[in-house]
Each structure stands twice: as structure tokens, then as C-alpha cells.
Symmetry: C2
Subunit: 146 residues, 2 copies
DNA sequence: TTTAATTCCTACCATTTTGATAGGGAATAT
DNA sequence: ATATTCCCTATCAAAATGGTAGGAATTAAA
């Protein structure tokens, strides 16, 4: 299946948890892991990527934890996925035409460029705020499969 | 990068070659491999999948080769990618909600379902005919990267 | 009926990616 | 001081990826 890796999937869930707590101080990664039923030690590998891309900020020591870097309205799913999975593109030649000498006429590339644009447009138009704006009860995902 | 595998990418190029020759008898896989500068022995693994999904038909022996199963107008990129990469879906819970007990309320799932739908819509609306309808000169892709 | 062409099938393999676990170091609020 | 929390590095098993190799089966044509 053409699926996102756990980086993208778990990472989105981390961001969702942080979005729900936005404005109420830092949240423990341990708490996020518990809420989402994901392995803490693995999330410790994912969250530094989000930090590097200025999507979260961290506070060390007691009472520390993580918070969103900015308002959930200003964080799109596209930003999250691009941070975690790298550039979005069905083929590498969409983003880097130089990998192919025939790039100006290649029919495949034309197709993938269209698909690429649609995906990006979609991801760009969904923010964390959109995710949390409807009722939040029972929204936790207890399953490890996603 | 969130990229298609070589199955999806090479496979699309195989289908493109066959589409260009549609109505003119079988085409050798060797010829396809040469045109697209792809390893023949590897394409021999990919094309049976296309055959199994009724996208191509084969003729054995001399003067044999492969042909499209139906008109390029009736073959969408979605069919090709789904045959080769399996179901398209950013997460498995989009196609199989039962993997998660919270699927009716899971906010992540809602997001991925929207993205999934957009991708499928896009891929469904591009056919092999669309790929070949403009000029065909210099359209071969000599680079192995795509 | 031989021969050559072509698809088809199975096995194997090296490398990379994925999805973690483990242990401890650094910073800091109390 | 101490407990808490993030941070960093190493390691690793399993799976996926992207092939290569060899030959069997089928068949058109000489
Ligand atoms: S491989 Fe995409 S432009 Fe040629
Ligand atoms: S993991 Fe997607 S529905 Fe819960």
C-alpha cells in the first residue's frame, strides 16, 4: 500500500495532542504516548524532527514538556508531513527535474506533477485547528495501527 | 520522501509504452525496457502484476509480446497504481476502519480519509489516453531515477 | 520437426528502510 | 541536592526494496 510511515502517522497524532492542549502550558511526551497508545521511546525519535522544523518547542526539567510552536490555525498537515516524511512527491523528478534529461517532455512526469499538486493543495488546506474544532470527546486513538 | 516505489513508477512507464503502441500488435518487453532504459529482468517481475489485474495481455513465442487489455481511454492511472502498489491510502485505517476501535471519532482518520479521496479522484481522472494525446516525440524517459 | 523467440516461474541476494529498544547524559524547577 | 524531563547515541530485528540469475514452458516460423 502507498502508505505514510509511522513518522508521519504518529507525528500527526503527537501534533494533534499538542493542539488540544495549546495555550495551557507544556505537555509531557509520556502523556502523549499514553493518550495515543504509542511507544514513548519511539516518539522520542520523532519529536526532535518536529522541533527542528519549528513546529514544537520544548522545555526541559520538571514541569517541562512540549508545546506547539504556533497557533493550531497556522499549522497545516502539509507542514507536518513535509517535516516528517521529507518533500511530498510521488516521484523524485517532480521536485528535482534535473534527475532526468527528458524532464521537459516526459509524460510520466506531467502526470506525477499534477498528482503532486493536488495532494499538496489538500494537505495545505487542513490545519490542526480543523482537526480539533469539532467535539473532542472520545477522539483519542487507542490503536497502534494508524 | 513520500514516494511511489519502482513498481508504481516503472509500471506506469510500461503502460505508457504499451498505450503508444495500442492497436498495433504485441510489443516486446525487451523493447519497452530499452525505450525506458529500465532493467528487463526487473520488469519481468512487474508486468505479471499488470496482467493479473487485467491491464495487459500477453502472447508467448515468436512475434509475441504484450498489449493493453483495453483502450487507453479506459485505463486510469488509479487502476495502474492500485494494481501495483495495492490500495491507495495514506493510512491503513482509511480502507480498513476495523483496525481501530475509535474509528468513528478518530480525528486523524478524518484527515486521511479526505486526503485519500482527493488522491483517488485525481488519479481516476487521468487516463493513459490523456498521457499520450499530445505530441509523442522525445517523450521517452532515458533516466532510471523516475 | 527443429529452432529460435518469447513469456513465465522460482530462487536468491544485497542494501536500505522501518520501527523500534536501551542506556545514559544534560538541563532545570523545586 | 534531587527528581524530572528532554536529549543523544548506539544497536538491532524484521521487512521492504530493487534487483540478478537460470531455466522451463509455449509457440511461430523455418
Ligand atoms: S523521469 Fe520524470 S522527468 Fe524523466
Ligand atoms: S487509527 Fe485511524 S481510525 Fe483510529
Amino acid at each position: 500500500m502507498w502508505q505514510l510511515s509511522t513518522k508521519g502517522r504518529y507525528g500527526t497524532r503527537i501534533m494533534y495532542q499538542l493542539a488540544m492542549k495549546y495555550g495551557n502550558g507544556p505537555m509531557l511526551l509520556k502523556e502523549i504516548a499514553a493518550n495515543e497508545n504509542l511507544p514513548l521511546k519511539y516518539l522520542e525519535h520523532i519529536i526532535p524532527i518536529l522541533k527542528k522544523h519549528k513546529l514544537v518547542i520544548s522545555t526541559r526539567g520538571p514541569q517541562g514538556g512540549y508545546q506547539l510552536f504556533k497557533d493550531p490555525k497556522d499549522i497545516s498537515i502539509k507542514m507536518i508531513i513535509e517535516a516528517l516524511e521529507g518533500d511530498i512527491a510521488p516521484t523524485s523528478c517532480v521536485e528535482s527535474p534535473q534527475v532526468c534529461e527528458k524532464n521537459t517532455t516526459c509524460k510520466s512526469r506531467k502526470i506525477w506533477a499534477i498528482v503532486d499538486e493536488k495532494i499538496k493543495e489538500t494537505l495545505k488546506n487542513i490545519t490542526l485547528h480543523d482537526m480539533i474544532e469539532d467535539n473532542m470527546e472520545n477522539s483519542l486513538c487507542k490503536n497502534i495501527v494508524l
